[in-house]
């Protein structure tokens, strides 16, 4: 049995965070119906990575990953008939995920108050960049903007700047994961007899989880955050990445015992006694003096050798695997970190699967992602009892999209 078997979820709106929250629910066994606009679909369909040689709107591997295990129903929510269909699906659901943006679901008649009146047990998540109120409510967001405002990028990069934006979808994955936590909390409450809940959450505030301690610390010591350089962060060192004979080795040596073992391992026991580097803080302040001594030593052996030998001495070194390396490392193979995903146009590909290992209720590993509107007929007929003529009529008027058939 899957942990969330039988849980009915309807997801509408756009974005990576919303999609990721829904993907986590689907991987845990929930039935997730994703509503998308006919023709264009979710904006995530226009975000990379793209498969070479596949046409829009099916080319995005990111979208396929996020939609795996979901049903795709294409309904035009700018159209009253479309909204009526969406509303019927939402009223049947245990959980509705709304990523339309603040106030928009209310404006079309899919907001919490309207649905709750008829479905008091239904819980709804309203997810947005900056939240449902406040001075930034209607601002434009992006992953980089959320990271910047959350204080995440400021410490990254060269001392004289500019700060560096981590690639990909960092804030949105975090936003979706945090939304999942809140949602599951509410669902557990539902099992204790609670009514449905409106959950409101911003991606920005979720991303602030990484940096909030600095905001607290400031109230204690008034010290401003600094940017010290690439792979140097206060207050300890080395906590960095060095070139090895064949790749990169991640080095962390914080405590005196770890630093001692590290110096022994790299054949420089004298460094441990060097008063310039005697504390982790001094090493951090004098990284410019320390690195020229360490770099030639780390170049002498392979990353894998450093990794295993340091760990044998209880020093937390790590390989820094490339995306290609991940598939070849025995540990990741043994744990099935990568799983197979498939999509009618993209074919089969591997990607990092949702990683929680619940012994009694294992999560889906990989799976199939739908084309835009692939399940429109099935859901409209099966869930809403529409007949073939009614569905055809909705398709002709553009209210629903029925998906592309064949290859």
């Amino acid at each position: 049995m899957s942990a969330l078997e039988g849980l009915k979820v309807v997801e509408f709106g756009e974005g990576v965070a919303l999609g990721y929250c829904g993907a986590l629910l689907a991987a845990c066994g929930a039935e997730v119906i994703k509503l998308e606009q006919p023709v264009t679909g979710d904006a995530v369909r226009r975000l990379p990575p793209f498969a070479e040689g596949v046409a829009a709107p099916e080319a995005s591997g990111l979208h396929a990953f996020l939609s795996t295990g979901k049903s795709s129903v294409a309904i035009d929510l700018n159209n009253l008939d479309g909204v009526a269909l969406a509303r019927r699906l939402a009223l049947e659901a245990d959980l509705v995920l709304d990523g339309m943006g603040p106030g928009k679901a209310d404006a079309v008649g899919l907001g919490y108050d309207a649905l709750h009146a008829q479905a008091p047990k239904m819980t709804m998540l309203a997810l947005s960049w900056f939240g449902g109120d406040g001075p930034r409510r209607d601002w434009q967001g992006s992953d980089a903007i959320a990271q910047a405002l959350a204080g995440f990028i400021y410490p990254i990069g060269q001392k004289d700047g500019p700060p560096v934006i981590p690639g990909g979808y960092f804030a949105q994955i975090t936003g979706g994961l945090t939304a999942f936590i809140a949602t599951m909390g509410a669902l557990v409450g539902g099992l204790s007899g609670d009514e449905g809940v409106l959950i409101e959450q911003s991606i920005l505030e979720a991303q602030t989880t990484y940096t909030e301690s600095a905001g607290v610390r400031f109230a204690y010591d008034g010290a401003a955050s600094v940017r010290k350089g690439v792979n140097i962060f206060t207050p300890t060192y080395p906590q960095s990445i060095y070139p090895a004979a064949d790749g990169w080795i991640g080095v962390t040596a914080l405590t005196p015992a770890q630093w001692h073992a590290c110096c022994e391992l790299i054949g420089a026991p004298e460094l441990f006694d060097d008063p310039r580097f005697i504390t982790s803080r001094l090493r951090n302040d004098r990284a410019d003096e320390l690195d020229p001594l360490l770099i030639p030593l780390f170049r002498k052996r392979t990353a894998l050798e450093w990794f295993h030998e340091a760990q044998a001495r209880r020093v937390p070194f790590a390989l820094v695997p490339t995306m290609a390396d991940l598939a070849d490392l025995d540990h990741f193979q043994a744990r099935e970190v990568l799983a197979e995903y498939q999509h009618p146009d993209l074919g089969r590909f591997t990607a990092a699967t949702i990683p929680w290992k619940l012994a009694a209720t294992p999560l889906a590993k990989g799976g199939s992602a739908p084309r835009l509107g692939q399940h429109s007929r099935e859901i409209l007929a099966g869930r809403l009892g529409l007949d073939a003529d009614q569905i055809a009529e909705l398709a002709v008027s553009g209210t629903v999209g029925l998906g592309r058939i064949g290859s």
Binding site: A144, Y154, P166, Y169, V197, S213, V216, I241, A318
Partner: protein
């Protein structure tokens, strides 16, 4: 006090320390669970500091750590010596009355203490036990240890940040911890949901490295789809153009600009005083702009240099353009936009007085999770927990204290 919160009837025995595990248990506590945090006088949470002397302990420095005080609110704290048989027995009796146990001790420690999953299940067949080691509880590297930095390294994410000529770039010294904690909270809630529906407990194994890898999932997708990692584009974006970080008038004040849709482009040009660019049909699409990205960035840079970051951000957002300053983390508690949404709230705690707490990033029916109690002093709730939860008498509790099984004063290990 927690009667309306969704996890009001959940009890969690918390053997986590540092950031990752305590973040997960804070999320539980913020949603109403009774979280019993177990430390020991000889092994306090290392986030209370790990270089204590008799002087620092006399000054109660271990009660003054901002990050500890932020991450352990709403929890009960007991200090039990688990290496003694009577201490272990107390822990097992708490487990008997709990729904879940969460731990992030170094690999092997729980077994050594006689608190393995099998031993916990023997006293409570329905218990959930979640462990979050760096590399996971199974597999060739399961015994390997790591901090947040190790976790970031181990997932390979530094290869996804920076430009083509940069070394692999770490993004934060220890965000891997927070990521691991979020994944742990999520997985634990799935386990609790299942347990509540079926009565079945289970073991949950969570590798922090694999949790963090989700933050770079696009890297694995690109590799899997096309046999190559995503291009390293520095501060540029593979689709949005322009997309970059620009210096403002004040030193070390930076503005991020991200034109996430073609409809934002004319507004950007208007605000930066370059309507000529906005009128150029060749630049109306992101593809067209990419050919002239250097020139466009130069135009934005000239404008940004004349303004304070916040003013520049406001001007662009007023014109519907995605923009945000690169806030210093230390400035977050002063940011008026966070304050307007009630993200920070003051809380009084012994030893440190009134200090800010970040609120839950979610609201249930408009309410953030309540601040019910400050982070526990070491052993603060020994009497309450052993009395109320285990039914021990005051005499029995005093005897445990006399025998050194429980306590509230940290001891420097010999």
């Amino acid at each position: 006090m927690n009667e309306n919160l969704p996890l009001r009837d959940v009890r969690i025995v918390d053997l986590t320390m540092g950031w990752a595990g305590p973040l997960a248990s804070r999320h539980m506590a913020d949603m109403g669970a009774e979280v019993i945090k177990i430390e020991a006088c000889s092994h306090p949470d290392w986030w209370r500091g790990y270089d204590h002397s008799s002087e620092t302990l006399a000054a109660r420095e271990h009660e003054k750590i901002p990050s500890f005080n932020m991450i352990n609110r709403n929890k009960l704290g007991v200090a039990i010596d688990l290496t003694q048989a009577d201490g272990r027995d107390l822990a097992l009796r708490l487990v008997e009355r709990a729904d879940a146990v969460i731990e992030n001790q170094a690999t092997g420690v729980m077994d050594k203490l006689g608190l393995s999953y099998e031993e916990l299940r023997a006293v409570n067949p329905e218990i959930i036990m979640l462990s979050l080691p760096a590399f996971g509880a199974e597999g060739p590297w399961s015994g390997y240890r790591g901090y947040g930095s190790t976790v970031e390294h181990g997932a390979g994410l530094p290869h996804l940040t920076g430009g083509p000529d940069d070394p692999p770039m770490m993004t934060h010294v220890a965000y891997g911890d927070a990521c691991g904690g979020m994944n742990a909270a999520a997985a634990l809630l799935v386990g609790l949901f299942h347990r509540k529906r079926t009565g079945q407990g289970q073991r949950i194994d969570l590798s922090q490295v694999e949790g963090v890898l989700q933050q770079g999932v696009h890297g694995t997708i690109a590799q899997g789809l096309n046999g190559a990692p995503p291009p390293r584009t520095g501060n540029r974006h593979p689709v949005f153009t322009p997309h970059g970080v620009f210096a403002c008038a004040e030193p070390d004040n930076w503005l991020v600009v991200a034109v996430t849709g073609d409809e934002q482009w004319p507004g950007l040009c208007q605000v930066i005083g370059r309507a000529d660019l906005g009128a150029d049909p060749a630049l109306s699409s992101a593809e067209g702009r990419r050919d002239q990205e250097d020139e466009i960035e130069a135009a934005i840079a000239v404008w940004a240099k004349t303004l304070a970051g916040d003013a520049a951000m406001q001007a662009l957002q007023d014109a519907g353009v995605a923009a945000g300053v690169a806030r210093r983390p230390s400035e977050l508690s002063q940011d008026p936009a966070y304050q307007a949404r009630g993200f920070w709230r003051d809380m009084d705690r012994e030893v440190v007085g009134v200090k800010p707490q970040p609120q839950t990033p979610w609201r249930f029916n408009g309410e953030r999770g309540p601040l019910r109690r400050p982070s526990p002093l070491l052993g603060e709730h020994n009497g309450e927990v052993l009395g109320r939860v285990l039914g021990l008498t005051a005499d029995e509790i005093a005897a445990l204290e006399g025998a050194g099984i429980i306590g509230d004063k940290p001891v420097i290990p010999a």
